[in-house]
Structure formats: structure tokens, C-alpha cells
Symmetry: C2
Subunit: 346 residues, 2 copies
């Protein structure tokens, strides 16, 4: 008489087990390792599962198995097309292999990043996807202490002992600057993203500068401006450059959004691109090919990069041998925003 009522009070896997007349072990097995249980039992259990509307309790599962099939990712901000796309791609890949993604943001603050890492580790993530290799010094120790595998995405640094996947930003930036040099420009300005806590931005600036130096070109300090990731700031920087008595004939930018700002401001100020000014971006966001003039830029395969980051961790967790440093190819996409410099000059 009280048998049924006892059953009714049970929760979770025990309710399923009771309903199917089996042990909890069998239910667990039929979920995690179906081949290990006989077909007849499996069917009975499957039936019981949706009879009670059973949803496995992930925290309990994680607690018991010490694996979560979940990865954590810490990006500076989600409000940036590059990261949004990357995360979307990573998430898609992970869900295709039965993993989940726990996403947090650091706002370009290394302390916050460290805190979020602690948070995610406490959450039981199996691995961590980080952006770049510019981290709080405590982070590496934290990861090592807790034996959490990780990967730095968006950069390529084969000489460092940490896994990474991304394009060689320095080389790509070099290519971008080389492009305008080949067109005949000698007066080239740089508008870069903030380099602080952003190794990617730093590598790009280094690439730009190397290209200039190799061609024996000067870079007056006032021709290099750093700006945050917003259109407004980029426009202000452009205004600065365009108002100089001696102004560059070409501007290479740290990313596409900055380039958009330069493009917009040039146009508003009565300059014609590329006639009066050549502009090169970096990233090749969707907008770049739609703008008028369309933007010459460095194409970076974001989707591929982030998916590979996921692959690396998933494979590592499965115990497979994987490539620690993976380079992702970039390419220069020449569009309408670059042309030879005005003939009148020099």
C-alpha cells in the first residue's frame, strides 16, 4: 500500500530506477554507456525516463564523475563582432560533440580575467579558452594547480610553451603595411587599438612598424594614434591625423572598426578615399565589403580559429595527441579603399 507512495516521493534517477524496476546503476549506465546494458533493459529504462520526465542533474553528475563536458571561455567583451562570431563558432562546434560552453567576460581587465577563471574552475569546467597570451601572473599557476588544460586563441606564438591557435598578427600587419608601401605610399600613419593588456594589438603595431622600417620610412610620433574599440574614438583619431599640416597619405588600422571610423571621418571632412587617402583595415568583418568605398583589409578566419581552439581542448581531454601551436592563415583582401598616393605629392 505504501510501496507506490514511497516510489512517488523519489526523485531523479531513483524514480526512474524504481519505475523501471532496476537499480540506479543500470539507469546511469544506460545513459552514459548504453552498450553495457541489455537492449531489453535499455528500452524499459528509456520508457521510464520519459514517463517521469527525467532530466539528469548535471551538478550531481559533475560532482560524482569529476567531468563536466563543459568548457569555459573568457573573452574581453561579447559586444564585439569578432568575439561574438568566434564564440558562436566555438559554441556550435562544442555542441556538435556534446560539450557545453560557459562564457564570461573580463572587460580587458586581467584581475577580472583571473577571477573569472577561478569562477569557471570552481564551476567544474574541463578546460578553458582564453584570448591571447596576456594574462595575470596568477592565472598560469591557478591553471597548473588545478590541472586545467587551456588554449590561447587569436595569436600564434610557437616559441612559447603554451598552446595557442590563431593567425600571426605581426606578419599579417606587416603584409597590410607592405601593401600600401607597394602602392607607392611613403607617408603612412597608424591608428591602432589600445595595446595595454592586448598582445594582439601590440603584435599588429609591431608588424606595421617593421614594414615601415624595412622600407626606411619614418613614423613621426603624431602619426601613430591608439584608440579604444569604438567608432567615435576612431573618428576622433582620424580627425587628428587629417588636420595635421603634414599628414599621411595612407593609414593602416589595428582593426576594421577603427578603419570604418577613419573612412567615415575622412568622407565627412571632405576627403575622398582612396583618392586623397588610402585606408587598410584588419579582420575583414561583414561590413567591410559592403561599405562604400569597400575596405581593403586583412581577412582572418575567425570561425575556423575558434573552432580549432575547441577541437584542441576536446581532443586533449580525450587523451589524444594534438598540435600545441596552430597557425591559421590570413590573407590580404584588396578592395576599393586603397590606391596609389596622389601624384601631386613628391
Amino acid at each position: 500500500m505504501n510501496e507506490p507512495s514511497a516510489k512517488l516521493t523519489k526523485q531523479g534517477i531513483r524514480a526512474v530506477a524504481a519505475r523501471a524496476g532496476v537499480s540506479t546503476a543500470s539507469v546511469s549506465r544506460s545513459l552514459n554507456n548504453p552498450e553495457a546494458v541489455s537492449p531489453s533493459l535499455r528500452a524499459r529504462i528509456a520508457q521510464a525516463i520519459d514517463a517521469v520526465g527525467y532530466i539528469p542533474h548535471a551538478p550531481a553528475r559533475i560532482l560524482s564523475s569529476r567531468r563536466s563536458r563543459t568548457l569555459g571561455a573568457i573573452v574581453p567583451t561579447i559586444d564585439n563582432t569578432m568575439f561574438a562570431r568566434g564564440i558562436a563558432s566555438l559554441q556550435k562546434y562544442l555542441s556538435s560533440v556534446g560539450y557545453m560552453l560557459f562564457l564570461t567576460t573580463s572587460g580587458y581587465d586581467l584581475d577580472v580575467e583571473l577571477q573569472q577563471a577561478r569562477n569557471l574552475i570552481g564551476r567544474g569546467v574541463d578546460g578553458l579558452v582564453l584570448r591571447g597570451d596576456c594574462h595575470h601572473e596568477g592565472l598560469r599557476k591557478l591553471l597548473a594547480d588545478n590541472a586545467v588544460p587551456f588554449i590561447n586563441v587569436g595569436i600564434y606564438q610557437p616559441d612559447r610553451p603554451y598552446p595557442c591557435v590563431g593567425t600571426n598578427n605581426e606578419a599579417a600587419a606587416h603584409r597590410a603595411a607592405a601593401h600600401v608601401i607597394e602602392l607607392g605610399h611613403r607617408k603612412i600613419g597608424i591608428v591602432s587599438a589600445l595595446q595595454r593588456n592586448n598582445d594582439r594589438a601590440g603584435a599588429r603595431v609591431a608588424g606595421f612598424r617593421r614594414a615601415l622600417a624595412e622600407s626606411g620610412l619614418e613614423l613621426p610620433p603624431e602619426w601613430h594614434v591608439e584608440v579604444p574599440y569604438t567608432l567615435d574614438d576612431a573618428r576622433e583619431a582620424a580627425r587628428h591625423l587629417l588636420n595635421l599640416r603634414d599628414r599621411p597619405t595612407a593609414v593602416v588600422c589595428g582593426n576594421d572598426v577603427i578603419a570604418y571610423g577613419v573612412l567615415l571621418e575622412a568622407e565627412r571632412s571632405g576627403f575622398s578615399v582612396p583618392r586623397d587617402l588610402s585606408v587598410v583595415g584588419f579582420d575583414d568583418l561583414d561590413w567591410s565589403r559592403h561599405l562604400r568605398p569597400s575596405l581593403t583589409t586583412i581577412h582572418v578566419p575567425t570561425d575556423e580559429t575558434w573552432q580549432r581552439a575547441g577541437e584542441y581542448l576536446v581532443r586533449s581531454l580525450a587523451g589524444e595527441q594534438t598540435i600545441m601551436h596552430r597557425e591559421v592563415d590570413f590573407s590580404l583582401v584588396v578592395r576599393e579603399s586603397t590606391a596609389p598616393p596622389p601624384a601631386i605629392l613628391k
Copy 2:
């Protein structure tokens, strides 16, 4: 002699307790309810905690306390400025009140949304943030069965029995259309987002149509086009409208991205905006005020909307009484892309 080694084998909270010479209960209390433990003990425990580098294990905590201080969110896609901003805002608010966010995407697929909801519930989220009120029928039952509070964000439907926060899309769209009607336009086209599984898009179309109908204006079928959320598709739609023998003098768009597409295509096709064609957007993304011509559009306070969604759930979970249907104000922002119709017509 083996006392110390015994201590060394302990994990987590017990290691801390042993180190501080207290019970696990006290450690737990000093973490979750610091006032309940004496200052001296608290200090000793705090010291022990970072001596062992203790990171609380969230899954265990969730399992035991049946609360996760984590909310789940399911959005169609993260790769859309509106959602990216909203999520960023929500995340920021949640972290300020000690909550975390578990984010998943549905790709506008109701089955996937349901699956993700199941997933998140299994994950132990305390509440769910959903987009709109267009869900799989099983979703409501799932939420009710598991007593998971939720809120529909981005819409305002005071007549429905579900919590929601957002702007009145129908009214806002009506306002947008009224604007061009007031300017004197009689021939108005619509380029909307796909209405399938997207009540927001549907409401906007309804608002547009009501405004037209109230002014006795016709809407020939070929003047209403639905397109996915991409610049390319919007441009194709614009091309279609502009190539019609009898074409509209104004186009109201379901969102800003669509409007950008129309703007770009009009310009590429040799039309001048707003001289030959007026264009109205919806959302007021960052780009809208930078474009040339800048875009007349409906401003929607995305950040506020999503933050309020978080507030609603957090308050509900704290047992506070909250407003079930919250309307967020929109406003028409008139910029350069709208003007009276060409005088030559009529």
C-alpha cells in the same frame, strides 16, 4: 605522525576545516553567511582558505543547496549586435548581484530552444531568460513542471499571463510608419525580418500595416519583402523594390541592419537618400548615427531592457513582489535618411 598525512589527503572544504581546526559547517557558514560566525574564527578560516588555495566547488554547492545563483539565457543567436549588447548588459547586472549567466543559442529553432531549456534546467539554473513569447508548446510545461521562473524579453504583452519586459513593438513600428506618412509619403514599402518563429518581427509588421491602413494607404504585395538578418539579403530586397516600375518613395524596415542594406543598395543603384527614397530603421544600433546619411530609426533601450529582465528574475527568486509586465519606452530618432517625398510625384 599520520595525522598530518591524513590532513593532506583531504579535499576542498574539509581540508580548509582541518587546517583552521574547525568544522566544515563553520567554513561553509563563514562563506555563505559571514555574520553567523565570530570574527576571530572568520579570520582563521579566511587564512586557511587561501593557504590551501581553496576554490568552492559550485556543482557540489548547487547539489546540496538546490540553488545555483545562476540564470540561463536562450537567444536566437549571439552574432547579432542587439543580442550581444543585451547579453552583455544582463551579464554585467547579474555579476553585480553575485549571479552568473549560462548562455545558449537556439538559432531561431523552437525545438532547439526547448532542448536548450531542458539542458539549462538540468544544469540547475534558478531562472530562465527567453527571447519573445514564441516558444515550443512543450517549453511552458517544462518550465511549470520544474518550477523554473522565466521572463520573455524584448516584447510587451500585458494581456498574456507570462512575465515580459520590452518595448511595444507594434506601437513603435506604428510610430515609424507614421513618421514617413506625416512627411507626406503615400507609397510606402516594408522590408521586414522573417516573421516565422519571431513574434517581434511579426508585431513590427503589424504596426507598420496598421499605420498604413489608418491613413487609407494601400500596400501592394510586392511592396512587402521579408528577409533574413544579413546585409546581403537586405540589399537584394532593396534591389527588388527599387526595380519595380511603380516603386515606393519610402521604406520602413524591420530592423537597422535591413535598413543599412537598403541604404547601401539605394546608393549603389544611383538613388539618393533621402531625396529619392526615405528609409526608416528599427533598433538604433551604433552604426545608425555614423552612416551617411545617418539613419532615422526607432531607438530601443536594449541595455535597460535586458537588465530589467535580470532584475525581475533576481527579485522573484528573492521572494520579492515584482512587476510582471514591464514596458520599456521607445523613441523615434529622426536623422538624415527621411525627408518629404519627391515633389514630382503626385
